[in-house]
């Protein structure tokens, strides 16, 4: 089973590069949705069957694969933005940095003092690489929607790490993380709308006008 999980994780890491390299928003949102669905399947694969697990899987797939992408598409329709025009760092450079951070994630994960049963699994490096991708997207893109996508990827990275603990993770923490995610997206959605109303663009670099 672990081999199949590892393959899925490799898939997740490949999706990271899709997001980093795509300038079209639709593509990036779809990629994140697919990543969310894959991540939703993962706990079902690595843990034994229980109704609790089914509930988690369904909840995650619904939230990450359906509701959040739908919200993002709706926001995109409303503000009529299709592309990330000029990121702070170009696509090729971002891809290279992404590759370097992914490699570093593997090096770093090998050095972490993990529990013996977690050593040699792809979970930790995949988690760190995904978090790095999230950070990279957050820092290099200008448009507010791209930043929401970055935030989502960051959450996905945290989620992969949490997978190692799912059975021990109390329900409250799971619910909290999911709620956090949804609320975050809602807030970002509101912020995006307000930015576009106020500055007639969702370029976050215009926010400098707000500083004292």
């Amino acid at each position: 089973m672990d081999i199949f999980a590892d393959q899925l994780l490799v898939f997740v890491m490949l999706i990271n590069f899709v997001v980093l390299g795509s300038s079209r928003m639709t593509m990036a949102i779809r990629a994140v949705a697919v990543q969310g669905v894959v991540l939703g399947l993962l706990p079902g694969i690595i843990h034994h069957f229980s109704w609790h697990l089914v509930a988690i899987t369904v909840g995650i797939i619904l939230a990450k694969g359906v509701i959040i992408p739908w919200l993002l598409f709706r926001a995109m329709d409303r503000i009529q933005i299709k592309r990330e025009v000029e990121p702070f760092i170009g696509y090729v450079s971002t891809l290279i940095i992404g590759a370097v951070t992914t490699a570093l994630a593997f090096v770093f994960a090998a050095k972490l003092p993990l529990a013996p049963e977690h050593q040699g699994l792809l979970f930790v490096p995949a988690s760190i690489a995904t978090m790095m991708t999230g950070f990279l997207t957050l820092t290099t893109r200008r448009k507010a929607i791209s930043q929401v996508i970055g935030y989502l990827i960051l959450e996905n990275g945290i989620f992969i790490f949490g997978l190692l603990l799912t059975t021990a993770m109390p329900v409250m923490v799971e619910a909290g993380a999911l709620l956090d995610l949804l609320v975050g997206i809602f807030v970002m959605g509101i912020v995006i709308n307000h930015i576009s109303n106020e500055f007639s663009s969702i370029d976050t670099s215009r926010l400098t006008a707000l500083k004292e």
Partner: protein, 667 residues
């Protein structure tokens, strides 16, 4: 816990808290009309109050300790809920005042006039009440802090209901900063406590040693953090503006109940230690004296009705703290009467203050409702236009001045009794602190009398100072009824001190280990039966006097004339004593503390032009000390502003760099 009972009081209290917390929830549904939502909130909140009040009184009088365990899957240990007599005693004002305020809101803040904010206020007032119940009963420090924070934040939203006003936003901001600084101190305190005890559970009374390392840190952070909430001078800076700018029933909740949470915290934390060092008692007594004196002196100079009441809250918190300090000194030197009377005075004054101060704030709301202003110098003659409110307000004023036969007298009497007991046969340091306390309390009492004579005289007597008197009306029944209830409670405590003391007695004994009180209690030390008899006699005399006066009034109807006419044939309302001139002598006397600012025109020559005079009492600590310091700090650290450049992408980078650095540090 008594297993023979089918329904135990702890569950009743918790049900009451849940009712209170949920009371505002219907208002969150926009489909439901605002008026219906407000009516629903009132009904639910009143139900909750009745339930909680019943449970709390049962626990406080019976002296049993109720224990519930809330199973939460958080890594801070089990969430214990302890309802001991002390906690139950603090629950009484919470439930009483929150119920009264819920009813009052219907008249004062009708949903028809404020459709949006009435929902917000209903929700946050309910949350405020239930979070206070939870923090009082919390036996786990994390649970305590969560409830504490919910309380602080819901009070913030309640204060800033009218947030389109600049003053309101400013007051809310100062409050928010202060409350979080206080919470920070509490975090430090609970961390040190955790290091001492090894668990997040709040330990039992008298189990810690004050000599242990960290005890002094706990003491000072508790005084700072809880004192900030209670409004002990000089930590009171948020209090006047927040009380003045919030809606009146919010002010009543805050002053009547929320400030007491700070007092509760100090009592609870200090009671963990045994034996109490003498200097702890002296520090708390000193803080109380400073707070009481400075509070009442500042109150005298205020022009704003609600600011005046807010400063008077600081004064009363001072009196409560004096009581606590006296009890601690008694513990340190082993003087049981001092412990009992100090603690009894402290707790009873706490209850009394929440009764009469809520009454006064609700009354001020009625006045503001009628006149549309908080300025004392624009009021006058209101007793003629709103007799019911005036009578209830007058009862509150007499009570707060500590005059018999009302409740303020009983608690201050207990304190004086304790002081004079402490003077008998004690060492020189205790003797001198007791003498100091007697003088301070006497001074506070007399200045409070002057302050409230001025308030009543300027607002309710004489003639109205503003031209538009046509719109003046008495408050509707929904506002008068809660005020009347509180006034009745004031009268009840004042006329039946024996039963009132019965309510306090067990909580007093429960705070500290029984050895400290040597088997004595309040009624065995103080001649309360005499007090009760004298109170009744006095009431009879007052009633008889009023009856006689009314009869004479009927026989010789009065000739209407202006009160402060001074022989003028054509007096105007502006000739009357104004709020400023009445207080002038005392303000001048205390000008060193108050630093009054005058804008005085120079008048020269014959037939001068129109000139205006104005005076203002600034908030000395905030405006004179803290704001200049903050401005200086802002200047010195202005280079840090460059970090805040408005680029969200770089902000994320900051987070990332911090994370990497922390990883590297721990790795």
């Amino acid at each position: 816990m008594n297993t023979t009972e089918i329904i135990d009081p702890a569950h009743i209290i918790m049900t009451g808290a849940i009712f209170a917390g949920l009371s505002g929830v219907p208002g969150l549904f926009p489909r439901l009309g605002a008026t219906v939502a407000q009516k629903l909130a009132t009904i639910i909140a009143c139900l909750g109050s009745l339930l909680g009040l019943g449970g709390a009184i049962v626990v406080a009088v019976s002296g049993m300790t109720e224990h519930l365990v809330l199973d939460w899957s958080l890594p801070f240990g089990p969430c214990d809920i302890w309802i001991d007599p002390l906690a139950a005693f603090f629950l009484i004002p919470i439930f009483l005042v929150s119920g009264a305020c819920a009813v009052y809101a219907n008249g004062y803040w009708p949903a028809g006039k404020h459709p949006g904010t009435s929902r917000v206020l209903g929700f946050f007032l309910g949350l405020l009440a239930s979070s206070m119940v939870l923090l009082i009963t919390a036996g786990n420090s994390v649970f305590f802090l969560i409830s504490w924070e919910v309380m602080a934040v819901s009070a913030y939203f309640a204060i800033t209901a009218e947030n389109e006003d600049h003053e309101v936003r400013k007051a809310g901001f100062v409050y928010l900063v202060c409350t979080h600084v206080g919470t920070l101190a509490l975090f430090v305190m609970f961390i040190v406590l955790r290091l001492m005890t090894g668990s997040f559970a709040i330990p039992h009374a008298g189990t810690l040693s004050p000599l242990a390392p960290g005890a002094a840190v706990i003491f000072f952070t508790a005084i700072f953090g809880f004192g900030m909430k209670a409004g002990i001078m000089p930590l009171h800076i948020w209090l006047p503006a927040a009380h003045a700018n919030g809606p009146s029933h919010v002010s009543a909740m805050m002053s009547g109940v929320m400030l007491k949470m700070g007092i509760y915290g100090i009592i609870r934390i200090v009671s963990l230690f045994s034996p109490i060092p003498l200097w702890w008692g002296v520090v708390i007594l000193g803080a109380g004296i400073v707070s009481g004196l400075a509070g009442v002196i500042s109150a005298i100079g205020q022009h704003d009705l609600k600011r005046l009441l807010a400063y008077s809250s600081i004064e009363n918190i001072g009196i409560i703290t004096i009581g606590l300090g006296t009890a601690l000194i008694g513990m340190a030197v082993g003087h049981p009467p001092l412990v009992i009377m100090g603690m009894g005075g402290c707790l009873l004054h706490m209850l009394n203050h929440s009764l009469f101060k809520s009454l006064l704030f609700l009354g001020s709301g009625a006045v503001i409702h009628a006149t549309g202003t908080r300025e004392l110098s624009r009021m006058g003659g209101l007793a003629r236009h709103m007799p019911r409110t005036a009578l209830l307000f007058f009862i509150g004023c007499v009570a707060i001045c500590g005059l018999p036969p009302l409740n303020g007298f009983v608690s201050e009497y207990l304190l004086y009794f304790g002081f004079f007991n402490g003077i008998n046969g004690s060492s020189i340091p205790v003797f001198s602190t007791m003498v100091l306390a007697i003088f301070s309390l006497a001074l506070i009492g007399s200045l409070a009398l002057a302050c409230f004579v001025r308030l009543c005289g300027i607002a309710f007597l004489g003639q109205n100072r503003s031209s538009e008197t046509g719109a003046l009306h008495d408050a509707p029944l929904t506002m008068v009824a809660p005020m009347a209830l509180l006034a009745l409670c004031c009268l009840g405590v004042g006329l039946l001190p024996l039963s009132a003391v019965h309510l306090v007695e067990i909580p007093v004994l429960a705070v500290f280990p029984p050895a400290m009180t040597a088997g004595k209690n309040i009624s065995s030390i103080a001649p309360l039966a005499w007090l009760e008899a004298c109170g009744l006699l006095l009431t009879l005399v007052i009633v008889a006097f009023i009856g006689l006066y009314l009869r004479r009034l009927k026989a010789n109807p009065p000739v209407p004339a202006s009160t402060w006419g001074c022989g003028y044939l054509q007096p105007t309302a502006r000739i009357q004593y104004s709020a400023t001139s009445f207080a002038e002598m005392l303000v001048h006397f205390f000008r060193g503390v108050l630093q009054p600012r005058y804008a005085m025109p120079r008048i020269s020559g014959f037939l001068p032009n129109t000139a205006r005079f104005s005076s203002r009492i600034p908030e000395t600590v905030l405006e004179g000390l803290l704001l200049p310091f903050m401005r200086l700090t802002g200047l010195v650290f202005s280079f840090l502003r460059r970090l805040q450049h408005g680029e969200p992408n770089l902000y994320v980078l900051y987070i990332f760099v911090t994370l990497v650095m922390m990883l590297a540090w721990s790795y």
